[in-house]
């Protein structure tokens, strides 16, 4: 566990740079995380991030298909917003866990 400065605030992150406490997330933090992924956030990005955070808070597992059915963006659109590993990158920018399996 380490701490890193984002938007002037010390944020707890794990070895792979994912936030360990989703409550520390703000839009400003997201913007800086996105820069590290070479993504400039638009309103559409924020809508997706908000959706991911809400679904995670409900405890439901996230899938690309689920985002695709959210009405915010389709699957191709999600790839365009977060090129190269959409769920992995969007999860990191949304301040939630990396998508994972049981092992």
């Amino acid at each position: 566990m380490a701490t890193k400065n984002y938007a002037g605030v010390a944020i707890d992150v794990n070895d792979e740079g994912y936030l360990t406490d989703p409550a520390q997330w703000t839009k400003e933090v997201a913007a800086e995380l996105a820069k590290e992924e070479e993504i400039e956030l638009t309103d559409k990005h924020y809508e997706v991030l908000q959706f991911l955070r809400e679904e995670t808070a409900k405890g439901s597992p996230l899938t690309i298909r689920k985002v695709g059915k959210s009405g915010i963006v389709d699957i191709k659109g999600l790839y365009e917003l977060f090129p190269g590993g959409p769920l992995k990158k969007s999860s990191r920018i949304a301040g939630i866990d990396k998508p994972s399996s049981c092992v």
């Binding site: 405890g59 899938t63 690309i64 298909r65 699957i75 790839y79 990396k98 998508p99 092992v103």
Partner: protein, 409 residues
């Protein structure tokens, strides 16, 4: 007479029928179980069929062998659950009322969700091993296959038994070695996740096996469609992977009944309180196993552990008491690694699989996250345990909640 209705006579429904009938007074409680199909499949055995280790007869028995006397069993399709009216409509229009319901309708593979998957090459070059038909057809193909590109692909998460595709490639490696044609076969493991292993300890302890067995991993591949003509799988971002033999974990979804009844999420899994196992929508419906959306593995071991918690909470509910039993997401899974060896993992919602010994600290006999012959024997013996102890709802010497004893951080 009060009524409990169990929908689904698979692992979960059968365990609950046995547990409830032995506890609830027959003069007070009527127990009815409904299922569409008459055959019970020992699903962990499907994995062994393609390699000729088991055949069809090793994994099937009549469901009725496992239901206790005193349970009304109805083999029928179910048309609709009407939770507001506490009733279920069967396929023939008959209405069943209930005071409490246990929903255990499972998960199913849906190859038709992926364009091109269930077309020309289906069961010719493309196979699943999650159905008896798929496993048997794959056996016939593998028997005479002379080699080429074997691609194991997972179409979507979540899916039943998350370690099965890993076991499949490990067993395939061993099988083709023994057949003397391993050098003629490329094995590729293609997953939508960031890796074949995603948890730190499991990655550290087991990912070396993939390298050792010369199995290539392609992560973050999210399947869009299958090109039957060119024999390629294609992802949403345009990556293409050619295959000669494609083994697939199709999209998994809950039963259509759940969707028709307006009770499911986007994949027809039922929103369920992950600790009490009660439906989030109806106070008198509990959800067991794969049918629920609880964030743990869809696997028989989870059903077995969850059944004990569900039973306690159902009894509390009957007595009008608060639901005090809490499920921790406990799962315990064998991982076959080939050449007569295996690994074993034990985990829950909060604790990832850790190394150590199981179930006895320091003694075992099983080695968590280790690759041993004894772990493999465990899986072999497990089939007997499944038929004779687990389905009958009898106690096994492992409690429902995960124990940290024997685990090393």
């Amino acid at each position: 007479m009060k009524k409990i209705l169990i929908l689904g006579g698979g692992t979960g429904g059968t365990i609950m029928a046995n547990k409830l009938r032995s506890i609830l007074d027959r003069s007070e409680w009527d127990i009815t179980l409904v299922d569409q199909y008459k055959t019970h499949y020992y699903q962990p055995g499907f994995l062994f069929i393609p390699f000729g280790i088991y055949n069809k007869n090793d994994v099937i028995k009549p469901k009725s062998d496992f239901f206790p006397p005193g349970v009304n069993v109805i083999f029928s399709e179910i048309d609709l659950i009407e939770g507001d009216k506490n009733q279920v409509k069967l396929g023939n229009g008959k209405i069943l009322n209930y005071d409490f319901m246990i929903l255990a309708t499972g998960t199913q593979t849906r190859p038709e969700e992926t364009p091109g998957l269930k077309e020309d090459l289906w069961y010719k070059r493309i196979f699943d091993f999650y159905t008896i038909e798929g496993a048997v057809a794959l056996r016939e193909f593998i028997k005479t296959w002379e080699g080429g590109r074997l691609v194991m692909n997972i179409a979507e998460i979540p899916f039943k038994c998350p370690v099965a595709p890993l076991e499949f490639v490990f067993l395939a490696d061993a099988y083709f070695h023994e057949a003397g044609i391993r050098d003629k076969i490329n094995i590729t493991y293609v997953t939508p996740l960031p890796g074949a292993f995603t948890k730190p300890h499991a990655t550290k302890m087991l990912s070396g096996l993939l390298e050792e067995k010369n199995i290539k991993v392609i992560p973050e591949f999210y399947l869009e469609r299958v090109d039957n003509k060119e024999k390629k799988i294609i992802s949403y971002d345009g990556q293409e992977i050619p295959f000669d033999l494609l083994t697939i974990v199709p999209v998994n979804m809950g039963n259509d009944l759940i969707e028709r009844s307006g009770m499911g999420d986007d994949l027809n899994f039922v929103p369920t309180d992950k600790q009490t196992l009660r439906s989030e929508k109806y106070e008198n419906i509990f959800v067991l196993g794969d049918a629920s959306n609880i964030p743990t593995s869809k696997a028989g071991s989870v059903v077995h552990f969850a059944a004990e918690v569900l039973l306690e909470n159902l009894l509390s509910s009957i007595d009008g008491k608060p639901l005090y039993a809490k499920f921790d997401g406990h799962a315990n899974c064998y991982i076959e690694t080939g050449f007569g060896k295996g690994s074993i993992i034990d985990f829950n919602y909060d604790t990832e699989p850790l190394p150590g010994t199981f179930p006895l600290p320091g003694v075992g006999p099983f080695g968590l996250l280790q690759n041993t012959k004894f772990n493999h024997y465990g899986k072999v013996i497990f089939r007997w345990i499944y038929w004779h102890i687990l389905l009958k709802g009898k106690e096994l010497p492992i409690g429902p909640n995960m124990s940290m004893a024997g685990k090393k951080l």
